[in-house]
């Protein structure tokens, strides 16, 4: 076994994992405030990628305008989903809200490739693709930059939760009725959480779109994002960061080390195994809060 190879896989895995973590950041934001697991997160990331592509390639906007434009547009889209669909489901059994987000996922996956064509769209936002050599390690420059941006955004959302509005959102997460009674507008906090979730997904969609192209397969980020969110604990932002690194490294090592032994394809299974193992041994994840149920 070549130690250099393993080190290289691990380092690249860290950055890939951070890029995955960006998708699950939105999931955690939404779960934290409203207690809904958003299975449409992958599809929203895909939508963000498509929106950025339309602005860049379709309308010919420059990069500095197109990316903020996509982020703002998707913020509104996230709030729209909450307002039109999820708010009507308050008080319904959990099975219904899960199915609703899954329905949104299916719809978006049919709508966008249907409208814009199923072929892979090239999204060029000026990230150089040439590899970077640090000592003898070959590092993928695109994932390095993407992982860096993800890290900044996740840390920013940690800081955001200490701001005034962040405290409001934490109060809503803690107890909706109590925050209502002290005059917090709970609906608005949840809507903003959906908006921010969509923004995080869009950022991830753009970053992934620029490395692998924009098409429906961006919605497959859902399963990785789920693995990260569950491993880190569904309501912990710090957990996303650490779980993202773990999942990224595990996936990268599985591709490099286990694949030759079993004949390929382990990359797609790592996330599922991590989900299952976490749920069996520590259902609330590494940093999640234990949920106590009253009858």
């Amino acid at each position: 076994m070549d130690w250099m190879l393993i080190a290289e896989l691990a380092v690249n895995g860290v950055f890939v994992g951070l890029m995955y973590a960006l998708v699950s950041l939105g999931m955690v934001l939404i779960y934290k405030t409203s207690g809904i697991a958003n299975l449409a997160q992958g599809a929203i990331a895909m939508t963000g990628g498509y929106v950025a592509w339309v602005l860049l390639a379709g309308l010919g906007a420059p990069v500095w305008l197109a990316i903020p434009g996509a982020l703002v547009g998707m913020f509104a889209f996230g709030m729209l989903i909450e307002r039109v669909a999820l708010r009507r489901m308050i008080g319904q059994p959990v099975i219904m809200t899960i199915m609703l987000t899954l329905g949104i996922e299916i719809m978006l996956r049919g709508l966008l490739p249907g409208v814009f064509g199923a072929s892979v769209k090239r999204l060029d936002i000026g990230i150089p693709q040439a590899p970077l050599f640090v000592a003898d390690l070959l590092i993928n420059r695109a994932t390095l930059i993407g992982g860096g941006i993800s890290l900044v955004l996740i840390v920013a959302s940690l800081i955001f939760f200490n701001s005034r509005f962040g405290v409001v959102m934490r109060a809503v997460a803690d107890d909706q009725t109590a925050s209502w009674s002290v005059g917090i507008r709970v609906e608005r906090a949840i809507a903003v959480a959906w908006g921010l979730g969509a923004v995080a997904a869009t950022a991830a969609g753009i970053l992934w779109g620029s490395t692998q192209g924009v098409d429906w397969s961006l919605s497959l980020l859902l399963i990785k994002a789920l693995a990260i969110a569950i491993l880190g604990g569904l309501d912990s932002i710090g957990g996303v960061l650490i779980a993202g690194v773990i999942v990224g490294v595990a996936e990268s090592l599985a591709t490099g080390v286990v694949d030759p032994l079993v004949g390929g394809g382990t990359r797609d299974i790592v996330a599922a195994v991590i989900i299952l193992a976490t749920l069996l041994f520590k259902p609330h994840g590494l940093f999640g809060r234990e949920h106590i149920e009253r009858v």
Binding site: A37, L39, I95, M96, I98, M99, G110, I269, L276, L279
Partner: protein
Amino acid sequence: MFYRRAGLRHTRYQDERQLFPLAFDRGLVLTVLAFLIAAPLLLDRLWLTGYLLPWLIWTSAALGLNLLMGWAGQIHLGYGAVMGIGAYAGVHLVRFGVPLEIAMIAGGIMSAGIGTVFGAAALRMKGIYLAMATLAMQFIVDFVISHNAAISGGTLATLQVPAVRFLGVPLTSDWATYYFALFVCFVITLFMLNVKRTSFGRALAALREKDYAAQILGVSTFRYKLMAFWVSSFIGGVVGTVLAVAYLRAVSPDQFHLELSIQILAMIIVGGLGSVLGPFFGTALILFAPIVLNNLLGSVAATFGLDLPIDMRAHLPLLAYGLLVIGFLLYEPLGLAKLYANFRNYMLVWPFRHAQR
């Protein structure tokens, strides 16, 4: 007026307990059954094998999932994998020369065994966590099937189903396969109609409403959660074998991916959770709405000279599923079965609406 209740006096407990107390309901069910039995004579081959056969098979599967999701309230996002296990087990046994009747049951037991492992997850968690666990298992089962040459015969291989006989009848003609699927669907429907009235069905309902409360009342959640997964997975496995033998005739791993799970899930949501009638309606809508929509759009495009992109038409089924699921969850969470029940309640007293209450 149609569903007349007037003059209906139950003088024995058996009368009151029967499945369809109203004479009109009995007549309706018998008419539909008679139509389904006579269908090979009435309809041409395309309708029989292209529409009725998949409708019966997918309905059977949806009924199995509905037992778990509608009755027991456990979320399962990996039902396609359960069917895949049954299909592969059944087809392998048939290829070994085991009679189809035994292979079906064995496929069901195989599915039930592995499916109950899915259920073991339900003992520890519920709600979203259970959804994720079953989703993860779907991916793991897919991976094991497609990467295990002993099961799938190689990554891109398909397994041919040999010529089989069911109860002495060779399943080669369209008629034979149709009646085979009809028989299986009939048995499963009968089971589902009756399960509600057994202690098992009532225990599942208690479990769905609140599992802790059920436990306090003396309903063993451990036992009944596992039993719900066992029975539902058994049905899934049997239907998987039927699907492989009667419809697909050659199985490959990609037929049992997440798409199948989502399709069946959409069927029971649109049809109505916890209803026997629902899956029949839901399957019809989910299977045929995309086809009808596609033909409609095609003809509209042709008459107005529009050029509809091929990608749009290819993605129409997904879009239709998504919109149907969202629409029903928002506006009629109990599905088409509830719409029918509303209509029936209205017709019970029509035209004397004041007689209601």
